[in-house]
């Protein structure tokens, strides 16, 4: 497959690895956060960690839209389906995220909730057209990449005058999350999370462009390299970050020039700002309430806003006590720091959201990397 396979070439990977080994300064440690779950997934799936010099540590960031969904939001979706009789449509990965009372959307479905997996937001609109006598709610999650398709269906529903369709909007914003991490005491005050630079989002950046990252690079003096999700992209980005650190630079560099421009997709941006506006505050799993970190539907489209249509009342719900997802999403801990990783919490029975999506740090490590974990205890 063109533009895919070329970026998964193992021989080239070994060359970049060799170059990296030359580039790292003896005695210096490098710690980079890959913001996106897409990078986390690539690192685990392709075994990139084994190709990096021992002095380079990758810290997983909060960039997985499924992982940052707070329990209370899933509860709302389940409530709509089970108590209000709505058809709730959602992307596949959302269905397994743990909610209150031992439920998840997929378990609610087994209890009779009419929950449907869709591949595209447009499919949810199709479900609404086919079921005019039912309320159909699209449970919309995702970062800036996934927001424009949601904006599109809201605009289309409005144009068509659909009466039974609404969106439960959980779209969140990348820059606010990065700022939040950079502002966190662990990074700023205690230095317990040393971050020497960021691998910047790939697909988010296709939409928003590379400009929004200039701010961090300047304000926090952290290098940012925007990189694609293929394994060579990741290796190259690490190499570029190491170079910046070595040279004392803190710039926004773009490894993913084949898809990302400075200004991004203007059409998509315009559509998003037509339909959505900044939300004053939004709860993220792991990060808590983060001001201006999410979107809500503009008043002009209020009748497509499930929160208003059903007068929903958001109730935050505490994560499982043992779960370290919060700390992991902030980069403070690693999956194996969690006491129940791989025992009580597995992809089969995820306790926290990081064990759900294969981009979640815990799931990625469990599924791809846990053969490295020692010691072994027979159960």
């Amino acid at each position: 497959m063109k533009y895919i396979e070329e970026f998964r070439d193992g021989a080239l990977a070994r060359r970049i690895a060799a170059r990296l080994a030359q580039e790292v300064r003896p005695g210096r440690r490098y710690s980079f956060m890959e913001f996106c779950g897409g990078h986390t997934h690539a690192i685990s799936r392709y075994g990139i960690a084994e190709l990096l010099p021992a002095s380079v540590t990758m810290v997983h960031g909060p960039g997985c839209p499924v992982c940052v969904l707070p329990i209370g939001r899933i509860d709302l979706a389940i409530q709509l389906a089970l108590e209000r009789g709505a058809i709730v449509c959602s992307y596949g990965d959302t269905l397994r995220v743990p909610a209150s009372g031992g439920l998840s959307m997929i378990k609610a479905k087994a209890r009779g909730a009419d929950i449907r997996m869709v591949y595209s937001a447009a499919d949810a609109l199709g479900v609404a057209r086919q079921n005019p006598q039912r309320e159909v709610v699209f449970f919309a999650i995702g970062f800036e990449t996934t927001t424009p398709p949601t904006a599109l269906v809201i605009r289309d529903a409005e144009r068509e005058g659909l009466q039974n369709f609404s969106v439960l909007c959980c779209h969140v914003l990348t820059p606010s999350a990065i700022t939040h991490i950079l502002e966190s005491p662990e990074v700023r005050r205690y230095g317990t999370v040393p971050i020497d630079g960021f691998i910047g989002p790939a697909h988010v950046s296709i939409v928003i462009g590379s400009e929004p990252y200039e701010h961090f690079a300047q304000e926090y003096q952290k290098p940012v390299v925007i990189a694609g999700f293929e394994p060579l992209d990741v290796m190259q980005a690490v190499l570029m970050l190491v170079s910046q650190v070595n040279e004392g630079r803190a710039e926004v560099e773009n490894e993913f020039t084949r898809a990302v421009s400075p200004e991004g997709n203007l059409k998509a941006q315009a559509l998003v700002s037509e339909v959505f506006e900044l939300r004053r505050s939004f709860e993220w799993r792991g990060l808590g309430e983060v001001p201006y970190s999410a979107l809500q539907i503009r008043p002009a489209y209020a009748r497509f806003d499930a929160e208003q249509r059903f007068a929903l009342d958001y109730r935050p719900v505490a994560d499982n006590k043992a779960c370290e997802c919060g700390a992991i999403l902030r980069g403070v801990k690693k999956p194996t720091d969690c006491k129940i990783f791989g025992t009580v919490c597995t992809p089969e029975n995820p306790v926290g959201s990081c064990m759900v999506s294969s981009e979640g740090a815990c799931a990625a490590h469990y599924s791809y990397g846990r053969f490295r974990d020692i010691p072994v205890v027979a159960a």
């Binding site: 497959m1 447009a122 996934t146 424009p148 398709p149 020039t257 084949r258 898809a259 998509a268």
Partner: protein, 76 residues
Amino acid sequence: MCLAIPALLLELRAGDQALVDLGGIRKPISVALLPDAQVGDYVIVHVGHAIGRIDAEEAQRTLALFAEMARLEPQA
């Protein structure tokens, strides 16, 4: 995050729709978010929508950069 994949745009269709090909798989997608998409473009498909396109020259440049790396002798 945000699974997305470059696919060859084969055909533009009415209503902002298009047909793409990925390794022999053909799938209808929306190009409403990329109105200037052209047949022959490699568009980046996310949840059934083209959200961007591959700049062939830039892709070439990146690959050239890797290739350059390959020419350097690794230290054993």
